[in-house]
């Protein structure tokens, strides 16, 4: 049974958290994710959840407290944005390497400087190699649905890794949209109780978490962690299948939108996918074969599947909402190009940087991108491979 409501992305995630009823939330406020712990703290204060809420004094402490409580066998979570995530850096790796399935609601915001509070993906993209599973959401509904699925993926015996559920700051976090919620008991049934195999203070199984590993063992530990991360791909699909049976809403590793026969494809992450779909619709109505691939799972990166989905595309645009300062491409561009290369596909790929620091991106902007792709095919001239979209020059 679904419940219709109107919620901001932050409220939707806070409600998912209430329905999950985790054991511990530690958090520190930062725009634009503040509303999540704030809303949740009222659920705690009103006795609607059994969660212990820890209003810590920094994000480093928020993640550290979550690591401590998760290690003690308590289902733990936090929420943050931007420099808050950056301040967690050191301990993000600790959470992942200790195989602690913490959930983090990330509301994407740019990193300083210049100081700016608006959306881009530089925060989570910076953390993309920290060993966390990363899932991105296009709208409020997806942010909610992804959060409901988070623990099932993270806690799976073959995975046991922390998970970051991302949504775009302000664009979805503050905007109020129609949404369908699941009943509390359905979420509880779906997510289930947390029964960790090992945890601190279990007198039958004393445990050392986070000890020093000499060079003879350190590498094996990392390799084992990689296997777990790779397993998250299949588990994400399995969990999505069960979720579809419950909610009627289907999710995969990514979404293909009018992609099957598209000559010109766009690969994109997050809320701008909605805008890009409008551009696709308009161009399709005018008879152009354009399509879209929207990333859901970014870590682990489903490279083979993405290459297969793009194999018919003649020219591809990779849209990065971050500048990764490597001098030649953004993180999404790098991933997609390496996936295509491994699949021995060599279409022209143009990497666009867009929407930094909340720069608005419109349907017209995306139409321009598709026009540039068409031009590249017609003139057989790839031109610049790394471009900025709607930059004031």
């Amino acid at each position: 049974m679904s419940i219709k409501d109107r919620l901001s992305g932050n409220e939707a995630v806070a409600i998912a958290m209430r329905q999950i009823n985790p054991d511990v939330m530690s958090a520190f406020p930062i725009t634009p994710s503040t509303e999540i712990p704030q809303t949740f703290s009222s659920f705690v204060a009103n006795g609607q959840v059994d969660t212990a809420f820890i209003p810590v004094e920094s994000e480093h402490s928020a993640m550290s407290a979550a690591i401590g409580s998760q290690a003690a066998g308590a289902r733990s979570l936090t929420a943050t944005s931007s420099c808050g995530l950056a301040l967690m850096w050191e301990v993000l790796y600790v959470a992942a390497s200790n195989r602690l399935p913490i959930a983090l609601a990330l509301v994407n915001r740019t990193l300083s400087g210049p100081i700016n509070i608006n959306c881009d993906h530089s925060d989570s993209m910076g953390a993309r190699d920290s060993g966390w599973i990363q899932i991105y959401s296009e709208n409020n509904q997806e942010a909610y649905d992804n959060f409901v699925q988070a623990y099932r993926i993270a806690e799976h015996a073959a995975v046991r890794l922390p998970i970051m559920i991302c949504q775009d700051g302000f664009i979805t976090s503050a905007a109020v949209e129609n949404i369908e919620l699941l009943a509390d008991r359905d979420v509880q049934g779906f997510v289930g109780e947390y029964h960790p195999e090992s945890y601190l203070l279990n007198s039958k199984q004393p445990l050392a978490i986070g000890p020093y590993a000499v060079s003879a063992y350190c590498m094996e530990a990392k390799r084992a962690q990689l296997e777990a991360l790779k397993n998250a791909k299949q588990v994400t699909l399995d969990v999505a299948k069960e979720f579809a049976a419950l909610s009627g809403r289907e999710y995969g590793l990514f979404e293909e939108y009018k992609l099957a026969d598209a000559d010109y494809a766009m690969v994109i992450i997050g809320s701008a996918a909605g805008t890009a779909k409008d551009a696709v619709d308009q161009l399709r109505a005018a008879g152009q074969k354009v399509g879209l691939l929207k990333i859901r799972l970014f870590r682990p990166f489903p490279g083979e599947e993405i290459a297969a989905a793009l194999q018919k595309s003649k020219v591809i645009a990779c849209m990065d909402r971050t500048e990764s300062f490597n001098g030649r491409c953004g993180p999404l561009g790098a991933e997609v190009k390496s996936a295509l290369f491994d699949a021995q596909l060599m279409p022209p790929v143009i990497n666009y940087v867009y929407g930094l620091g909340g720069r608005d991106v419109t349907v017209e902007d995306f139409i321009t991108v598709f026009a540039q792709l068409a031009e590249i095919e017609q003139t057989n001239d790839g031109g610049k491979k790394y471009r900025y979209l709607s930059l004031r020059e």
């Binding site: 406020p29 725009t31 503040t34 704030q38 703290s41 209003p55 004094e57 420099c83 300083s112």
Partner: protein, 275 residues
């Protein structure tokens, strides 16, 4: 004639964007008045700020300014002072900035007695992020993270700084703006780590939730709860309950860090002491 404080303000950045009734403008006013009193030289003064409503003040002052990250202003300022000890360095922080996320930097800057002038805008709350309680929120207050009142005890920032080694500690309020100006003057001319706590009203994120009325009412609250330090010394803890002392709370002499540092380097290089 140009108003004498104007030369210290970036007039093109005014009016400021603080909420109506916010006390931050009064603290800013006290700062620029203090600058005129000490005839502050813009060419050898740096203003460093953290992140928060209060830290915006740095943007309104016509100096070389460094707007940093939340909680770390003192660490940046320490770097500036060590690189160029001849500079005068003011550090602007909120109560969250100074005592919560950046509390560690505060105690260590105080412990080293490095010659920085720290001005803490204490509005008893995280103003910028919408009213979450800080380590300076009085016990039993309402906050967005404490819908049924806070149960955590608050720091006395002045006592904390003193215990950590600060050699000049003072407190005033936006109601006592002239006193605030004078304390900033004294702190700025003191050699060593000085901390001036400015109690200021945040009617929007703190006052409203705690039924304290408008910015004006909150200044009256300051008037009624502040006790001059000379008087406070003769009152019992019970009599001081819920009140706070204002004025010059502590002053001491101790070796200043950049000077001691300089001496050490000279010694290591075998350069004999002057005089």
């Amino acid at each position: 004639m140009q108003n004498s404080v104007e030369k210290y303000l970036r007039m093109d950045k005014l009016p400021h964007i603080w909420c109506p009734g916010c006390g931050n403008g009064i603290v800013l006013g006290a700062m620029v008045r203090a600058f005129t009193k000490i005839n502050c030289n813009q060419n050898n003064t740096v203003i460093v700020s953290g992140i928060g409503c209060s830290s915006r003040a740095a943007g309104y002052m016509d100096f070389d300014t460094l707007h940093t990250t939340h909680g770390r202003a003192l660490a940046f300022a320490t770097g500036i002072k060590l690189a160029k000890p001849e500079l005068k360095v003011f550090v602007i922080m909120g109560d969250g900035d100074a005592a919560s996320i950046g509390g560690n930097h505060l105690i260590h800057a105080a412990r080293r007695n490095i010659d920085l002038t720290a001005i803490i805008f204490n509005n008893h709350i995280y103003g910028m992020t919408g009213g979450q309680y800080s380590p300076l929120t009085p016990l039993d207050s309402m906050a967005t993270t404490a819908p049924y009142n806070t149960i955590e005890r608050n720091f006395d920032l002045a006592e904390l700084a003193k215990a950590a080694g600060a050699t000049y500690v003072a407190r005033s309020t936006t109601y006592h703006a002239t006193m605030l100006t004078n304390l900033i003057v004294a702190g700025a001319t003191h050699k060593g780590f000085s901390l001036i706590e400015a109690v200021t009203a945040c009617p929007v994120s703190y006052g409203r939730r705690n039924k304290m009325g408008s910015g004006y009412d909150m200044m009256i609250w300051q008037k009624e709860h502040a006790v001059p330090v000379q008087k406070a010394r003769n009152l019992t803890p019970k009599e001081m309950q819920g009140k706070f002392a204002v004025g010059e709370l502590y002053k001491a002499e101790a070796p200043e860090y950049t000077e001691v540092y300089d001496l050490l380097i000279k010694k290591a290089q075998g350069i004999p002491k002057e005089g």
